[in-house]
């Protein structure tokens, strides 16, 4: 068994290029570096230096950790005002403490809707700090006395500080030599941008923590590859899974590091698949272990974060409208479904909710379409106001509605009119293209009680009813129906298209010719319903299942992400572009630049940024160099060398690309801190390169180069320290740091 395991492991590393070189003995896996180190220590009698050397593994991470906590925690409460995105995440924390349902629409600065775990943790930190959730977290406002914001910031800084020892272990696990390990750790420790971003109530320190942790677990798991199915192997597999679950529940950016682990796993399985000596059962076991550890487990963690989210947020809040009507009806303190009559009759006043993911309420307002018919706009809108109310009226062929009559109920197949309560106009459609989705027909509000035609007629087609099979009534909350335009035969639809500024960026409502019964954007249900003639009921007694809520919230998250196309009207001088990050072209002012407040500037350590960026180019050159020489028959790399380039060099580069390219391709507003996870991989890459070139040099050369690098990194860190710890007083006095005009830490 041991022999076959060994064979597995060997073929596991035997990939790509090595396959063609059949002459190389396949079992030549050399583990050089550790052997070297041990030999040295074993031979001589232990002097003090040797003891220091021997215990390095315990005190080095300790020292680094202490330094990390110092740099991240020192004077963390200096600025008593809500700084930058604290305004958002603090607010979300408050929602958790007040247990109000909210929907993350923090698109102003962070631009992404995020899963709940990170904000839950912020909420937790507030809870631990004894905060009651009453503060509004308005940007630039002073924290009230009773709010222990220092603790909340420390809580966040903890995650940032924890990255430093993990970077140490990661570099060590990737077989870097000690000075290179120290250099990598120093570069993470002495990174001004990492320091600054960790010192506020933001999600980025947690995201960074998750990314670093996942990379560490992956490296540890890889190091265990020869010990398949042994306890430590299993441990690191599970740890990788858990950390993936953690990081993706913090921010969706976590999916990129997940992709890195995914690529590694696919490659690993592919090489195992090619090992015909491995029994198929073992192969299947490998596959199953990974599916459980890397897919099922992270997904469970992700689910758990939502389960907690729903469990905590049981009160009605500002995010209600994003969810289905049934979900809202189950929140405490909601208006939805409370005392609403169960069944709709003519004369009922109701709001009509789109059942698509992230769908809003059917809305109209006095503003008219600037093109097309020029009639009154009809949109879909999440905010609850009186413009969402519609009256159900009989069609023009039937006897008109009179307030005195007996309630006439509406059934599946009834043709009705919908009258907008505020303006008295009829919901109307006609042979004019919709303003954005040109293939569909425009929907407008037109006429009044008496003026109008057949084009105001809509036929109700019931799709589903969660409460009953009886189709002779339309029920509040539970009945899903479509509205078919009688003359055009099209269906009322609200997709996820936003109108331009003239429509206040609300969702476009159209009439689509396509008859797709499964298109949920054409499904509608009654949300609020009032009718004095009917007895109040309790339509909200049907609970919507967790699964449905989970999927609904996730799809709503994704779709409103997609709606975030950059807005050329919006000028945002905080935003930066992808090409500016690796060259440290710009920084970011985190607060106003008034002389009286403590100012923080988001800018990295120049050596770390420029060095790692140059390192990426150098690595590309290195790979091209060795492959070209290999093709020309030079056999200069041992199997160990190839593996080292592959796992300690190539994988960090892949990680960098995975965290960087999406921001290049995505056409959306981006900020400097989007580069931080990618930077971590670039740092690992830099460590690998330095290690690669210096590993076999003489001690003198090593000391000299590492010395210069270490001192420069620390020196620059200290030099730029004020931007992290807070700049007090007039900004002019910090102009010495302004090396370039785009580094706007000073107005001078």
């Amino acid at each position: 068994m041991a022999a076959s395991d060994r064979a597995v492991a060997v073929s596991g590393v035997d990939v790509g290029d090595a396959r063609r070189r059949t002459a190389v003995p396949q079992t030549a896996v050399v583990e050089k570096p550790e052997a070297d180190d041990k030999k040295k220590t074993a031979k001589k009698s232990p002097s003090i230096l040797d003891i220091i050397d021997e215990w390095e593994w315990i005190y080095a991470p300790l020292i680094f950790t202490v330094l990390a906590f110092f740099t991240r925690f020192y004077k963390i409460g200096l600025s008593p005002i809500v700084t930058w995105d604290e305004a958002h995440f603090g607010k979300f924390g408050s929602h958790y403490l007040k247990r109000e349902f909210y929907f993350d629409s923090s698109r102003i600065l962070t631009n992404t809707q995020q899963p709940p775990a990170g904000k839950l943790l912020v909420g937790l930190s507030g809870y631990l700090a004894g905060y009651n959730g009453s503060f509004e977290f308005k940007s630039g406002e002073k924290y009230p006395e009773e709010l222990n914001y220092t603790f909340m910031r420390q809580f966040n800084a903890f995650w940032g500080a924890a990255c430093v020892p993990m970077a140490y272990w990661t570099a060590k696990t990737l077989n870097l030599k000690r000075p290179a390990v120290w250099l990598v750790t120093l570069m993470v420790l002495c990174e001004n941008s990492y320091t600054t971003i960790s010192r506020f109530i933001l999600l980025d320190s947690m995201l960074l923590f998750g990314t670093v942790l996942t990379t560490l677990c992956w490296a540890k798991f890889h190091a265990q590859r020869h010990n398949a199915f042994e306890p430590e192997w299993c441990l690191w597999l599970l740890m990788t899974g858990l950390s993936i679950g953690f990081v993706t529940s913090i921010k969706l950016v976590g999916l990129f590091v997940t992709a890195l682990v995914g690529i590694y796993t696919i490659e690993d399985l592919w090489s195992k698949f090619g090992n015909t000596k491995m029994p198929v059962t073992v192969l299947a076991a490998h596959l199953t272990a990974r599916v459980i550890g890397l897919i099922v487990l992270p997904f469970l963690v992700y689910l758990l974060s939502f389960a907690i989210h729903f469990a905590v947020l049981t009160n009605s809040g500002p995010g209600d409208a994003q969810m289905s009507s049934l979900f809202q009806a189950n929140l405490r303190g909601t208006e939805v479904g409370r005392d609403s009559p169960l069944e709709i009759a003519y004369g009922s006043r109701a709001t009509i909710k789109n059942m698509g993911y992230g769908g809003g309420l059917l809305h109209s307002h006095v503003q008219t379409y600037p093109e097309g018919s020029g009639q009154q706009q009809v949109t879909c809108y999440h905010h609850k106001d009186a413009n969402n109310d519609w009256f159900f009226y009989p069609n023009r062929r039937e006897p008109d509605f009179s307030p005195e009559e007996e309630p006439r109920f509406i059934a599946d197949g009834t043709t009705i009119r919908l009258i907008h309560a505020q303006t008295g106009r009829n919901l109307h459609s006609h042979e004019i293209s919709a303003p954005v989705t040109k293939a569909d027909k425009e929907v407008s509000c037109y006429g009044n009680l008496t003026i109008g035609d057949e084009k105001d007629h809509w036929k109700i087609e019931v799709i589903s009813d969660a409460a009953s099979r009886d189709r002779s009534k339309i029920r509040t909350l539970t009945t899903g129906f479509r509205l078919k335009h009688e003359t055009l035969g099209c269906y009322l639809r609200a997709g996820n298209t936003n109108l331009p500024q003239w429509g206040f960026k609300q969702i476009e409502v159209t009439c689509t010719k396509e008859n797709k019964p499964r298109d949920t954007y054409t499904h509608w249900n009654i949300e609020a319903h009032t009718n004095e003639k009917l007895p109040p009921g309790d339509p909200g007694s049907y609970r919507s299942p967790f699964w449905k809520d989970f999927i609904h919230l996730n799809v709503a998250m994704m779709t409103s992400n997609n709606a975030l196309v950059p807005d050329p009207d919006k000028q945002d001088d905080l935003a930066s572009q992808w090409w500016q990050w690796p060259i440290l072209h710009v920084g970011l002012r985190m607060c106003s630049w008034d002389d009286n407040i403590v100012k923080y500037f988001l800018l990295g350590n120049p050596l770390v940024y420029w060095g790692t960026t140059a390192g990426l180019g150098l690595f590309a050159f290195l790979v091209v160099w060795y492959t070209l020489r290999w093709q020309r028959g030079y056999n200069e790399l041992s199997q160990w060398d190839v593996d080292q380039i592959h796992y300690a060099g190539l994988y960090p580069v892949i990680g960098w690309f995975l965290h960087y390219l999406p921001f290049v391709v995505m056409a959306r507003v981006t900020y400097v801190h989007h580069y931080y996870p990618a930077l971590y991989f670039a740092i690992l890459e830099f460590g690998f390169l330095i290690d690669w070139f210096l590993r076999n040099r003489t001690k003198v050369v090593q000391y000299a180069i590492y010395g210069v690098l270490d001192v420069t990194v620390i020196g620059l860190y200290v030099y730029f320290m004020p931007i992290c710890w807070g700049m007090t007083g007039p900004n002019k006095q910090y102009s010495y740091m302004k090396w370039f005009d785009t580094w706007r830490m000073s107005d001078a």
Binding site: F273, T437, K438, E514, D572, Q631, G633, A667
Partner: protein, 777 residues
């Protein structure tokens, strides 16, 4: 049928030859003495292969059919159809030498202009609307249309040649060419005045030339080798100079070249190691032929473009004033007047065409969002002529010097004439933009009092030189507020009622954007007959070619990226292989005729499913190889990966890049990829329905086992590969596919040729996937 009869006899002759060789091959492995015989046998085989007249006959027939299908009824409809509006118009502009602007490079349009010039057309008609009559306007439209039709017909022949040159059997060639021949999309797009015929033809030619070139790899640097290398480059250049999607062909050929170079570099190369200087020669030759030379050709078309278009025209507005001054009878040349201090001027925003305006009303104290203003006099943008648009331009120091011209980078003040106030900006947020500065005006007392610094503005002429004179119309400039360095900017969102729905003017901290550019429209203080308005006959200036090209290129890319608005018939890349929707090109109500641009659904679905089958075969092969199961013989695999793989690569590189393109896309963007997919189809028909002959495989193994000089250095034709094999299966498959394709082509023919008109019922029958056809009711 004519094609199959001769083949029978040839095949028989071959059987003899090959069986002999077969025997030799085996004995050769055992005895070196036999070697001579084998070489001789191979030679006879080669001569037999030389006369492939069955291929030639079929080729001629297919070409004839291609011309027939493309030219049949080409004069119908005699009206402007779809994008003929654009490309017909551009041809007219060329013929009239008036400058125009378009996002596509000039080559394809130049061809049309050349056609028009050949038939002596003067370009009087401007193709304004779809449905305009050609007859009434006396346009030689048949000549115009016959150009794409010729190229479209030749495309079919080129596809046939590609398959032939790649060594595929006759059925495979016929399937590939037949699917293009009977494809409604290719026919429809190449019968009209559109660029795609040129594009697809050039793309197909580049594949053909590269294959020719690659086949000559054993005679590097020979005359023929150079010829095909240069021709490949030329075809690529034409492809790219027609439309920028032609760049995808560079990716296709480039990938193939990269792989080829990689193999040349191999130290264990079958043909012997190449020394590094030799390799460098290979590298340099390809870099010259496939990159440098195509680029020079590309530039050449622009040179032609500039040298034809010498007169001012509708494209002027897209260019800088310096560029416009190179065009004759340009407004810039004739109307530019130098501005002097104390002139009153009107400032116009270049992008929104609004004038800088002010009136006695003031900003409200509080805006809707709670922010406060300075309550100063409103400064707005107003699109109509009005005396409130008049501003007097003043120097910093009052000197009353007359006839003193304003120069670039000088500080000026602007006095609003009607209210006698001075333009000013200060650190107060503008009505809509908290980040931007408010613009207002102050009375003279303040302007010469404590606010003096805030009333100073710098004139920054775009691309200007120091001390350049400031002129009306031709000087595009930014007005930079001197103390705060913000640029005067405006946008189209109207102010609320308090601002009379006029445009907001504010100070933009981002100075770089071109939306900050203004120009001086006129100097109302100069009377119409004043000598300063006299127009001296100015001569047309010249600019270096590269500068003109660079400017045009930037402008083209910028406008290409702006093409994001939605179009009723736009489609998405994932819809194309399934042919989910087409484009309505033209309709005529009285006759119920319509042209609906749509591929032959049957042909497309066959081609697309074959792509999936190909991917499946490759994946299955990789998986089984990985498990040590070798199911394919050497030749089949080599062909599957190298030749068919090249076609598949061509498809992928012409298809997937569209997924990341942000602009609006149409079905016709898939045509080059579709062409590649038919090549894969032909190749797979052969792969699936016939097996390779075994003797070549044996020969290959003999070569592999170390017989020097035995390696087959020559291209092996289909006839040799399938010697002695029954091709019955492949022929049956070919006829089945062509019969289906023919049926589909014939069924959708009325929509492609726009003739005859269809009844409701006939239209409805053709709405296969809910195609949005007209006249369905």
């Amino acid at each position: 049928m004519a094609a199959t009869t001769p083949q029978g006899s040839v095949r028989q002759r071959n059987v003899g030859g090959s069986s002999k060789k077969n025997k030799d091959g085996i004995s050769a492995a055992s005895s070196d003495v036999e070697l001579d015989k084998i070489v001789k046998a191979a030679r006879t085989l080669a001569s037999a292969a030389g006369s492939e007249y069955d291929y030639k006959i079929v080729g001629v027939i297919i070409t004839a059919l291609a011309f027939l299908t493309r030219f049949w009824g080409i004069s119908h409809p005699n009206e402007v159809v779809f994008d003929e509006v654009h490309f017909g118009k551009f041809a007219s502009y060329y013929l009239q030498k008036t400058y125009f602007f378009d996002v596509h490079p000039p080559f394809g349009k130049l061809l049309f202009a050349f056609m028009g010039w050949l038939v002596g057309y003067d370009g009087h008609f401007h193709f304004e609307n779809i449905g305009d009559s050609y007859i009434a306007n006396k346009v030689p439209y048949v000549a115009f249309r016959s150009l794409p039709a010729i190229l479209g017909a030749l495309t079919v022949s080129v596809v046939y040649l590609i398959m032939w040159e790649s060594g595929y059997s006759l059925p495979a060639c016929i399937v590939a060419a037949g699917l293009i021949l009977l494809d409604n999309a290719h026919i429809g797009q190449t019968r009209l005045i559109l660029l795609d015929a040129t594009l697809v033809f050039a793309m197909a030619c580049s594949l053909l030339c590269y294959i020719k070139f690659y086949k000559l790899r054993h005679e590097p640097f020979s005359r023929k080798w150079w010829k095909w290398l240069i021709l490949t480059g030329f075809a690529l250049s034409c492809d790219m100079s027609t439309k920028y999607v032609g760049l995808f062909a560079f990716i296709t050929i480039g990938s193939a070249v990269a792989i080829d170079l990689w193999e040349l570099l191999d130290i264990k190369r079958p043909g012997g190691t190449l020394s590094l200087p030799d390799f460098s020669k290979h590298f340099a030759a390809r870099a010259f032929g496939l990159i440098l030379m195509p680029f020079l050709f590309y530039l050449f078309w622009f040179q032609v473009h500039f040298s034809i278009l010498t007169r001012s025209g509708p494209g002027d507005d897209f260019m800088t004033p310096e560029f416009q001054e190179t065009l004759s009878d340009n407004v810039m040349l004739s109307n530019a007047i130098t501005i002097n201090y104390y002139d009153s001027i009107t400032l116009k925003h270049k992008e929104t065409k609004a004038y800088l305006h002010s009136h006695a009303e003031r900003y409200p104290l509080r805006y809707d969002d709670g922010r406060v203003s300075s309550q100063g006099q409103q400064v707005t943008g107003y699109p109509f002529n009005d005396t409130n648009n008049y501003w007097q331009i003043l120097p910093v120091q009052v000197d009353q010097k007359v006839d003193h011209p304003v120069k670039n980078h000088e500080l000026v003040r602007l006095r609003h004439l009607v209210t006698d106030t001075y333009l000013l900006s200060h650190d107060v947020a503008s009505p809509y933009y908290p980040t931007n500065q408010e613009f207002t005006t102050v009375p003279q007392a303040d302007a010469y009092g404590d606010r003096v610094a805030d009333t100073l503005f710098e004139i920054r002429i775009e691309n200007g030189k120091p001390n350049q004179e400031f002129k009306t119309i031709s000087s595009h400039f930014k007005l930079i507020h001197n103390p705060s360095k913000v640029a005067m900017w405006t946008h189209t969102t109207p102010l609320p009622d308090w601002g009379h729905k006029q445009q907001e003017i504010n100070g933009n901290k981002q100075i770089a954007p071109s939306s900050n550019v203004w120009l001086i429209e006129d100097i109302p203080s100069i009377p119409a007959d004043h000598p300063r308005r006299a127009k001296p006959e100015k001569e047309v200036k010249t600019l270096p070619f590269l500068r003109k090209w660079f400017e045009l290129q930037r402008s083209m890319f910028w406008h290409n990226n702006q093409l994001t608005s939605s179009h009723p018939y736009a489609s998405l890349p994932f819809q194309w292989p399934f042919l989910l929707r087409g484009v309505s090109f033209w309709t005529q109500n009285d006759t119920r005729q319509q042209i609906y641009f749509l591929g032959n659904p049957i042909g497309w679905w066959i081609a697309s499913s074959v792509l999936a089958i190909y991917a499946g075969i490759v994946l299955a092969d990789q998986f089984s190889l990985r498990r040590g199961i070798d199911a394919l013989d050497h030749r089949s695999r080599s062909r599957l990966y190298n030749s068919t793989g090249f076609f598949f690569l061509a498809w992928a590189t012409h298809y997937f890049p569209f997924y990341v393109m942000g602009r609006q896309l149409f079905l016709h963007h898939y045509l080059p990829a579709h062409l590649a997919s038919t090549l894969v189809t032909g190749a797979l028909v052969e792969f699936i329905f016939s097996a390779d002959s075994t003797d070549l495989e044996l020969a290959h193994q003999a070569a592999k086992s170390g017989k020097k000089g035995f390696a087959i250095k020559r291209h092996v034709t289909a006839r040799e590969r399938f010697a002695g094999q029954s091709m019955m299966g492949a022929w049956i498959a070919t006829f089945a596919i062509l019969a289906l394709a023919f049926a589909g082509w014939y069924f959708f023919l009325p929509l492609t040729y726009g003739y005859p008109g269809l009844t409701v019922e006939q239209v409805v029958r053709r709405k296969w996937l809910g195609y949005d056809l007209h006249f369905a009711k």
